[in-house]
Point group: C2
Chain length 130, copies 2
């Protein structure tokens, strides 16, 4: 027993390589396109499975963009933080925000709402793109 998965295969390495290439979110189609450009043939379904696999391992974060497409990015365990996404290059910066605790209090006071979780994203221009 103690069946642990984890085979280091070429397709997986290449897919992870694409994510490692830039700190931004990639859709399965983008990863696949990138690999094709590198003359690496991988099935699109494998890209989907691998991205989901990375997420299960906690190595990647998922984000459903406003068109409904799922995108992934390498992202540390993420002790709660938020993302600032550049509209120019897509680069993502982590934003720690402890001030959120205050929101939680006012939410309870003003709305009687008990906070379990929250998401925040900021869009704009990173230092390099503006």
């Amino acid at each position: 027993m103690a069946t642990r998965s984890e085979y280091a295969t070429r397709p997986r390495e290449r897919i992870a390589g694409v994510l490692r290439g830039a700190r931004r979110f990639f859709s399965a189609a983008e990863v696949h396109r990138e690999l094709t450009a590198q003359h690496v043939r991988v099935a699109l379904s494998t890209v989907y499975r691998t991205l989901e696999h990375l997420r299960e391992k906690g190595e990647a974060t998922i984000r459903v963009d406003d068109t409904g497409e799922a995108t992934y990015m390498f992202c540390e365990p993420a002790q709660h933080h938020h993302h600032a996404i550049c509209n120019g290059c897509g680069r993502v910066e982590d934003v720690d925000c402890s001030a959120v605790e205050q929101f939680a209090d006012s939410l309870r006071n003003l709305h009687g709402f008990l906070l379990d979780a929250h998401t925040m994203e900021f869009y704009g221009r990173c230092a390099a793109c503006r």
Copy 2:
């Protein structure tokens, strides 16, 4: 000229009626299911078109949920505010948050990031559900 659309049709009234029924987000499928339950026959494509139409008119807000499904809710012009979504009943409460201005400043100072827009959502239990 001055071609203005806007026909008050029965399907549109019924679809709007569903949204009016609860202050929460509905997917096209949910609206359609609801109407079917009310013995109102409307094409699913009409639901899609009508929801999108309501959004264009500024009467409804769209939200792509974590599964990638588009959902809509009636929502006032929305002088910038955020949503507190109940995990129990889905009810949505508006959360005004002027404190965000402060975030904008620290973002610029800490990351050199110029903020254009942002989104925030809070999940938890509303007063009625906890």
